[in-house]
Symmetry: C2
Subunit: 233 residues, 2 copies
């Protein structure tokens, strides 16, 4: 059983006041924030790394009584995912999503991530078939089906990725399945219907008149769809 | 003729409120801010890239009547320096410092940087002899002699780099010569005496009780030394 989780991507936030931006969306009832780490090698952009995540963690410290709160969902668009596990854990990451395309040994990497106290997730680019996740899915806390080419915010949602989400959901009814790229009012229905339950939303949340209303709207679509499928936690 | 320029490195700032941190040191009379871009390949850390610099530029916009104000000194610790010239220029960079060790054709890169409207500077790591800069110095707006191994803030100043600064200053009395790493009250005298005029200071400025007093102290040492050498602008 799964539930709707909305994860605003801070790639669309104002980086000059990142702490305030994170607080704003958490106050708007975001479940997680999605942190896009890019190294300029796996993707053609450099965004941010451990020093920035560590500062942000100080700004939104964990609550020991409520460990699920202020969850940092770290999407590692980097060419050497093994290298950053320990630095990201130390910086305050809760989940570490590596790209299947970037590693030779996903199972070893999953173990490394868990040994460092984080949840482990694996992402696939639009050109990667979803079947590659089947042999490792039972060890994963989440699968991420990219709905744009990773690298930049503000891109158009690729509806033709939905069969990948649907295939995953049929095989793994209880797995967190995330979609990332171009999610908003016009695309949430397709993603929810295919079975995605973790929604990354950048521009649509951060540029909305009300982040809270946008988050609520996205969540209600996903919850309804999970309910229809009999999968709601 | 040169003058003292103090460039606080935002690697030591609080990234959760980067705009406010930049304003704080500019109000404390910092001449430039030093932006450490790291890609996790040239150095073992990922810091920040064009999206963050672009947000920071919006927070401290250029004044067309005073183009030297709010100067963004971008230190590119990246393995493909050619790739980021245009993105950094678009994000609002004023100067682009590449590493000599990272390029095969420094003169071509200098031209590319200038064609993109920025000042061009070249850095050398502690292990690189300073002589490599001699054939290109006349095309440079600045040379950077690293006084720590690049990658992390808060490291100890390497006094044995000072002969490199001294050699550069004797040969190029009018060149901006920057030192970066471990600069503060205990080390500014050595750097100023060797002839450095552009001082990167991270921890010492951002963690000082008064950024303004620290900046003033660093500046006064450099100004006095330039005066003694007859090089003060």
């Amino acid at each position: 059983m799964v539930k709707a989780l909305i994860a605003p991507s801070i790639l669309a936030s104002d980086f000059s006041k990142l702490g305030a931006e994170a607080h704003r969306v958490f106050e708007g009832k975001a479940d997680w924030i999605h942190l896009d780490v890019m190294d300029g090698h796996f993707v053609p952009n450099i965004t941010m790394g451990p020093p920035i995540i560590a500062c942000l963690r100080k700004s939104v410290p964990k609550d020991p009584k409520n460990p699920g709160k202020y969850f940092f969902d770290c999407h590692m668009m980097v060419s050497k995912p093994e290298q950053w596990v320990e630095p990201i854990a130390k910086a305050g990451g809760d989940q570490y999503t590596f790209h299947f395309e970037a590693t030779d040994d996903p199972l070893k990497l999953i173990k490394l991530i868990k040994d460092n106290g984080m949840q482990a997730a694996c992402a696939v680019k639009p050109g990667t078939p979803v079947d590659v996740l089947f042999p490792i899915a039972e060890y994963l806390d989440m699968a991420l089906v990219m709905t744009v080419e990773p690298g930049f915010g503000g891109q158009k949602f690729m509806a033709d990725m939905m069969p990948k989400v649907d295939a995953l959901r049929r095989k793994y009814p209880h797995l967190n399945i995330q979609v990332d790229g171009g999610l908003g009012p016009a695309t949430i229905e397709a993603a929810a219907k295919a079975g995605a339950n973790v929604i990354v939303a950048g521009t649509s949340v951060f540029k909305a008149d009300s982040a809270e209303q946008m988050i609520e709207m996205l969540r209600s679509h996903v919850t309804l769809s999970l309910q229809k499928k009999g999968l709601l936690e």
